[in-house]
Amino acid sequence: MSAGTIEPTTGAPETLPATRWIEGTPSLHRITTDISRPMEARPGRGWWICFAISSLAVLNLLGMVTYLFAKGIGIWGLNNAVGWAFDITNFVFWIGIGHAGTLISAILLLFRQKWRTSINRSAEAMTIFAVMCAGLFPLIHMGRPWDAFFIFPYFPNQRGPLWVNFRSPLVWDVFAISTYFTISLVFWYLGMIPDLATLRDRATTGIKKLVFRVLSLGWNGSQRTWSRYEIVSLVLAALATPLVLSVHSIVSTDFATSLVPGWHTTIFPPYFVAGAIYSGFGMVLTLLIITRQTMHLERYITTNHLEAMAKVILLTGSLVGYAYATEFFNAWYSGNVHERFHFINRATGPYAWCFYLMVLCNVLTPQIFWWKRARRNIPVLFVASILINVGMWFERFVIIVVGLHRNFLPSAWGMFYPTVFDVGILVGVFGLFFTLFLLFIRALPMIAMWEVKGVSHG
């Protein structure tokens, strides 16, 4: 051995073995058939039961929204003190759910994290369905939903020269959410084109072939196209990354730019973004645990994937806990009496149970993921993911309703009690979300075949 060169020591390996994201080494054809199976076989009993329940909830949603349009938002439990409650809570909740999909598809692509490949397609679908559910609420909470298009500036402007107020965060929201939806949809579809071509070439019936032929845009796997395609994916990921951070930051300014105690804080944008990713990962975990089991895709969505997601949940959950603590500290440290009162009321007032439920679900639950055994235990992961979803819904409820129900003047205080329509629409929207997701896993490839092929063979 000459001086200056370092020979690797024999015996123990220099580095840890790489994590395997696909079990075994399935052949390329096997990957195609495994992932196409849920779309080509008849759905099982489990799928039909889930579909029946979720479509009943959608029917309920349709009925209740129709009644809402006929009667007005007075059928909700709103009053002069609490003018925003379940509607805006649901809006913020669903927008937040969407964030995990973009994080997985865009941010993890930029970081070249291979574990995203098995879960990105379904997470992106979840983003799109969640944003659709979110978009419903600003629409239905307007007194006159048929005038909803007024929130977009349009030509020719039929309101005289009067335009929307571009200084308002509510208008920023319209632009942020519509951009987010459009870019997510385009990114999702673009990522699916090679797989749609695979399905086109597998299709046996004429109508199926025709549909996939139209959707796959004539894709033939040319390397010249692949080369451009990969650049475009990177560009879209680079655009979607700041976009997703901007969306929940802008949503948080709906509150932060007001003067309501508990809302008027500069911590809101990062706090909302962390919470959004946290809740989104909770939802991805819930959905994937169910689908991998019922669709028999454990080979592709492995325990390693679930563990990686649990780690993200631990990180973002701890960030959310830190934000809660900061809010309390600042309420005390600022010396602002209204702010102090708000936080005392949050922890000891009539809605204190919501606050403690939120702390229990969002701050304490993820701490179990410090233990590797918990991160790899499916029942623990599943229960934790549900608790996180419950906790994050209550977080928005606490911020919104506790902020409004007792602000500056005691003479203007009030309580919010949800009516059957508040709860019914909440349940109905969950039904809409799950119905869309169930249809998605039957109609489109829920795992990106070409990306899995690249990871397992490339």
Binding site: S168, F175, G218, V235, L239
Partner: protein, 174 residues
């Protein structure tokens, strides 16, 4: 007029990569390679230069930014100045979020549109597959056949030496 091509099918990307390099070294032109997923190193082996599509992103994004800024300025300052809480008519800082969103929206849509145009992908286009299975598990290497028999024979030999399962002559449908 129908063009003639030599199509080599491979089951594994390694042989394909080796065949592409050897063919290029031997001076045989490569029409294209078809694969079920993007094979690493193939761009370099084929000599495909990096796409210039990100420039379209820059231009479209700048266009979106300018449009958003100009539109907000026009509506808030010229067309209908409105006093909202005593804020200045030209509240540039408050215009930033929408400027950002439109930069991303138009930049993203512009890039995807340019990609589809450049790659000639459009709804309902009839796919041209060199062999069945390139969207599943087959890698296909395609070289043009130009009159001279020697080059075709050389290409066929290189493909077979590098593990091609099958080499066949095909004509474009015209």
């Amino acid at each position: 007029m129908a063009e003639r091509f030599l199509v080599g099918s491979f089951g594994e990307p390694e042989g394909l990569l080796a065949a592409v390099s050897t063919l290029r070294d031997a001076g045989v032109a490569i029409h294209d390679v078809f694969a079920p997923y993007p094979v690493h190193g193939l761009d370099q082996a084929m000599g495909i230069r990096r796409s210039r599509l990100p420039w379209i992103t820059l231009l479209a994004g700048l266009g979106g930014l300018c449009f958003a800024l100009a539109f907000q300025y026009y509506t808030a300052v010229f067309d209908w100045p409105l006093d909202v809480g005593g804020k200045p008519e030209n509240s540039t800082l408050a215009f930033v979020p929408i400027c950002f969103e439109l930069t991303v929206l138009i930049g993203g849509l512009g890039t995807v549109g340019a990609f589809l145009l450049r790659a000639r992908l459009f709804p309902g286009k009839r796919e041209q597959l060199p062999v069945l299975g390139v969207t599943n598990n087959v890698f296909a290497l395609v070289t043009p056949l130009q009159g001279e028999g020697n080059e075709a024979e050389l290409a066929r030999q290189i493909m077979l030496e590098n593990g091609a399962d099958e080499v066949e002559e095909r004509e474009t449908e015209s």
